[in-house]
């Protein structure tokens, strides 16, 4: 793997810093833009995420990302050179061979030799581009011998992370956009350097370890991207795909879902925290304790107010995005407030809808625990104008699962 960081990268590194040198020129260029918008936005570069007016790929933190960047520079320089060459000739001709300058047109219009030359030469250039690219393609796909394997499950509109093998095995949690961000977006009043990139639970991985990400999805296609790692892998329902990274620097790295997945597509960011081996061990220990404490006993019998209180949390985290906090729904999304299914005496009806989904619009929620499903059903049956007094116990949900 060392070939992906060695000499070539430092060669381009210099060119890279040369490109970044004339800061004043750039800021002058953006004066007009600043007048338009940036003055209104108090925002700084986000380390591991986008920088203000970033105009290049992210600073790489893996060898693959560095190799991708080198390839990009290689391609860019070749293309710019050809561009200048070809259009140098064209504009020379445009200025010299004008009728207004009295230029008479020549009458050549064919040359097999020339045609062969400008077919063969580009062909050779293309081969020269393809060779280094091939090495990177092969390296990118080598997901063997991973230290840690994490399954990333795309859901409308959040990510589920399950640590499958390696240190931390068994940890699983859901990662969603931080609750306040969506409201800022709706209000048109964004704030913070990590606006739309802030999540409740970040994926945590150790530095310098090979992490294999397995992607899949529950509903529609999503895509898992972290630019600083040079990874982008679609998460496809019914299919399992994988990619990998070995982060070389401790820090926070950000990405977003990049495959159109419905209305909240812009609101399911990815935050990967790369920590030292010791910090990772501490995190694993803490997370496991937390999970044990949270694990609900499905045979526990709950009282109505406790279940409603728990259900409200589940509702806000999972249901409110579509059904709204008011329970009124919107458009194709049905209202829960006053819904016949919710008010029905037969509690099994609503349990079935949550476990199996409905009409291709309401997704199945079987990934929630029995207690969570019981709680959220009880909440909807006893909130807004719904006053059924019915209680659904976790045991009923467990029994309804096939």
């Amino acid at each position: 793997m060392s070939e992906f960081s060695g000499t070539r990268s430092s060669q381009f590194g210099r060119l890279r810093s040369a490109l970044q040198a004339p800061r004043q020129v750039k800021s002058a260029l953006f004066l007009a833009a600043a007048a338009l918008s940036s003055a209104a936005w108090a925002v700084n570069d986000l380390p591991g995420g986008p920088a203000v007016r970033q105009h290049d790929l992210h600073p790489p933190v893996t060898k693959i990302a560095a190799a991708q960047q080198d390839l990009h520079y290689l391609m860019l320089y070749i293309c710019v050179a050809i561009f200048i060459g070809v259009f140098g000739v064209m504009f020379y001709s445009i200025f010299k061979h004008r009728k207004s300058k009295g230029h008479k047109s020549a009458d050549f219009h064919e040359s097999t030799t020339v045609e062969i030359i400008w077919t063969v030469v580009p062909f050779l250039i293309v081969i020269g581009m393809a060779l280094p690219a091939t090495k990177v393609v092969v390296a990118q796909k080598d997901t063997t011998n991973a230290d840690i394997t994490i399954k990333a499950v795309g859901m409308q509109w959040k990510w589920g992370y399950e640590y499958i093998t390696g240190e931390g095995e068994g940890i699983q949690f859901i990662s969603t956009l931080d609750a306040g961000q969506r409201a800022l977006s709706d209000a048109g009043k964004p704030e913070g350097d990590n606006y739309l990139l802030k999540v409740d639970n970040a994926m945590v991985v150790p530095v310098d370890k090979k992490v294999r990400i397995i992607t899949t999805a529950n509903d529609v296609i999503h895509s898992f991207m972290v630019p600083a790692f040079g990874i982008k892998q679609d998460a496809i329902p019914g299919f399992v795909r994988d990619t990998w990274f070995r982060a070389e620097k401790v820090g926070d790295y950000y990405g977003q879902c990049v495959e159109l997945c419905g209305k909240e597509h812009a609101y399911m960011p990815i935050h990967v925290k790369v920590v030292s081996a010791e910090d990772y061990a501490l995190w694993v220990e803490g997370k496991k304790k937390e999970m044990q404490a949270k694990a609900d006993d499905p045979s526990k019998v709950w009282a109505l107010p406790d279940l409603v209180a728990r259900g409200e949390k589940v509702y806000n985290a999972n249901c409110a995005a579509c059904h709204q906090a008011t329970g009124k729904g919107a458009g194709a999304i049905k209202a829960l407030d006053g819904s016949p299914v919710v008010l029905d005496e037969d509690r099994a009806k609503q349990i079935a809808v949550l476990l199996n989904g409905q009409n291709n619009i309401m997704p199945a929620w079987k990934q929630l625990s029995d207690t969570e499903i019981a709680a959220v059903i009880t909440y909807t049956k006893n909130n807004w104008s719904n006053k059924t007094g019915q209680v659904v116990q976790p045991a009923e949900v467990l029994a309804a699962r096939k």
């Binding site: 833009a33 918008s37 936005w41 570069d45 986000l46 995420g49 986008p50 920088a51 203000v52 007016r53 970033q54 105009h55 290049d56 992210h58 990302a65 190799a67 991708q68 390839l71 391609m75 860019l76 050809i82 070809v86 259009f87 064209m90 001709s93 061979h97 207004s100 230029h103 047109s105 219009h109 064919e110 077919t119 581009m129 690219a133 091939t134 393609v137 990118q140 796909k141 800022l184 048109g188 964004p190 606006y195 991207m225 630019p227 040079g230 982008k232 892998q233 496809i236 329902p237 019914g238 299919f239 990049v258 159109l260 997945c261 419905g262 209305k263 909240e264 597509h265 194709a332 619009i361």
Partner: protein, 538 residues
């Protein structure tokens, strides 16, 4: 000058030779009238799609949601794409084909005049359905113009309307293509051999074959989507064991040749204009024909470069990467040939030539970003980001649309009988060129920085380039409004200097052998051509 004689011969019934009023258009079988209908339809859809685009750019002017909610935003991006591809660019080229092909090859009309009428009028209900879908329950389709499964399964009833509309548009395209192929192969004037045909006819012949090959593939993909939605099949629905990736393979098997369907006729137009204003024959005519054919053939084996992020095996990625890079070779040959045509010519820069040179310059930038995207490891960084948006707008707006404008300024004297004043075309050109680059150049930066496409809201670090792009987009939009009101409408009303039969002294081809405006009927008797098949000799 038999065309002129023909016209004189029919002069006595000039007022009775075609129907008037609405019948002239609804019952139209004349290739020129149908060409006009196609062009006006395409322009209307360009404006509709443009308004949707400005909706997108207005929302993205600043971070945060100001004008539309994310549901509507997704509808805007989806319908902008579908309307521009199927409603604006494709019909516009068919309009050019209808108007110019019979004139260029010395035919009296298209081969199947009534089918020609049908294929135009089919598009009207389809367009109404597409636009009307915004007012259906749940709004317009919002799954992106690529209509990826299984997101399409979650769409409301407008998805079915959209699928039906695309079926109809596909049928219309296939009929149009059959018409073009038969016209070119069967109705050329004696002496107009295939290798003497104007490049525009060649590129359209090849494009028509591409259309016939791939439109049924699209129809298949969206039909399977329809049966998945309503009839319990599971072609693409993973819940029933279907394969959403198969949808992408089928879609892009259509979708990639589709890209060339939208650019090959543009190459044809440019290949006519550059020699005309360089006053020099097209360099490497035969190699241009072969390059066009190679591009068309290669377009069938590169589709999965749209899918590098789905997780293909190494061999698959390598194959599609190599094949895609290979396309740059024949495309390069075309650019080199155009430059060689200009070389040591005697150039002037009237409206058509400005647009053509602008096309070559800006389209090549889109070609280079395409080459960069073809490299699979780079594509992993750039797939589904604004870099891709920048790339395909450089080839579809600066490519196809600029070529359409070039063609308009070139042939408008023949269509309308008046010269568009020089300065009007120049103003339109410079205004569009600058606004276009202000809009789309910053998107390269956004993409490199990782801003995903189809996002209603974005992190604030992306704010400045988005603001610039939005300003540019509105400027570009107004340039086209200027075109309609100050260029097109006056020309259609016949205001301006009368155009001679040969308004451009370097232009060659049979279309310049008939008077301006071209009479309703031309070449009713096959003309006798000279050895180069560019002049009528009796």
């Amino acid at each position: 000058m038999s065309a002129v004689l023909d016209h004189d011969g029919h002069g006595h019934d000039a007022h009775h030779d075609h129907p008037h009023g609405w019948r002239r258009w609804v019952y139209a079988t004349n290739h020129k009238d149908i060409g006009t209908l196609y062009l006006l339809f395409a322009l209307t859809m360009l404006m509709v799609g443009g308004v949707l685009a400005l909706g997108i750019r207005a929302e993205l002017f600043q971070p945060g949601l100001q004008l539309v909610n994310p549901e509507l935003f997704n509808q805007l991006t989806t319908m902008h794409g579908i309307i521009m591809v199927f409603g604006a660019i494709m019909p516009a080229f068919v309009g050019f084909a209808n108007w110019m092909l019979p004139l260029q090859i010395g035919a009296s009309d298209m081969a199947f005049a009534r089918m020609n009428n049908f294929s135009f009028w089919l598009m009207i209900p389809a367009a109404l359905m597409l636009v009307g879908s915004f007012f259906m329950p749940g709004g317009a389709p919002a799954a992106g113009w690529t209509l990826y499964a299984p997101l399409t399964l979650q769409m409301g009833p407008s998805m079915d309307a959209g699928i039906f509309a695309m079926h109809i548009l596909g049928a219309s395209s296939i009929m149009g293509s059959i018409n073009i192929i038969v016209t070119i192969l069967n109705m050329r004037a004696p002496g107009m051999t295939l290798m003497k045909m104007p490049m525009f006819a060649w590129t359209w012949l090849i494009t028509a074959y591409l259309l016939i090959a791939v439109m049924p593939v699209l129809a298949g993909a969206i039909t399977m989507t329809l049966t998945d939605r309503h009839f319990g099949t599971s072609f693409f629905n993973p819940a029933g064991g279907g394969d959403p990736v198969m949808y992408q393979h089928i879609f892009w098997f259509f979708g990639h040749p589709e890209v060339y369907i939208m650019i090959l006729p543009a190459f044809g137009i440019i290949s006519q204009i550059v020699p005309a204003f360089a006053r020099k024959k097209l360099f490497g005519y035969a190699s241009m024909v072969y390059a066009t054919a190679s591009i068309a053939i290669l377009s069938f084996i590169v589709w999965a470069h749209h899918m590098f992020a789905t997780g293909m095996p190494v061999t698959g990625q390598l194959f599609f990467m190599y094949a895609t890079m290979l396309i740059s070779v024949p495309t390069g040959v075309k650019i080199f040939n155009w430059v060689a045509t200009m070389w040591r010519g005697s150039m002037t820069f009237e409206g058509p030539m400005l647009w053509a040179v602008g096309f070559i310059f800006v389209f090549t930038m889109g070609g280079f970003t395409g080459l960069i995207l073809s490299v699979a490891p780079i594509d992993i960084q750039l797939q589904d980001t604004y870099y891709v948006v920048a790339h395909f707008h450089y080839v579809l707006v600066a490519g196809s649309l600029f070529a359409l404008f070039a063609g308009f300024y070139y042939w408008a004297p023949k269509w309308t009988g008046v010269m568009v004043p020089e300065w009007k075309g120049k103003l339109h050109f410079w205004w569009s060129l600058i606004a276009f680059n202000v809009t789309f150049f910053p998107m390269h930066f956004l993409g490199l920085a990782g801003m995903p496409r189809r996002y209603a809201d974005y992190p604030m670090q992306f704010a400045d380039y988005n603001a610039i792009a939005s300003v540019g987009a509105f400027a570009f939009g107004f340039a086209q409004v200027y075109f309609i009101f100050f260029v097109l409408i006056p020309a259609m009303r016949g205001k301006g200097e009368p155009a001679p039969a040969r308004p451009w002294d370097g232009a060659e081809g049979l279309e310049w052998e008939v008077p301006s405006p071209a009479p309703f009927h031309t070449f009713e008797n096959p003309p006798k051509l000279d050895a180069t098949a560019t002049r009528v000799i009796g």
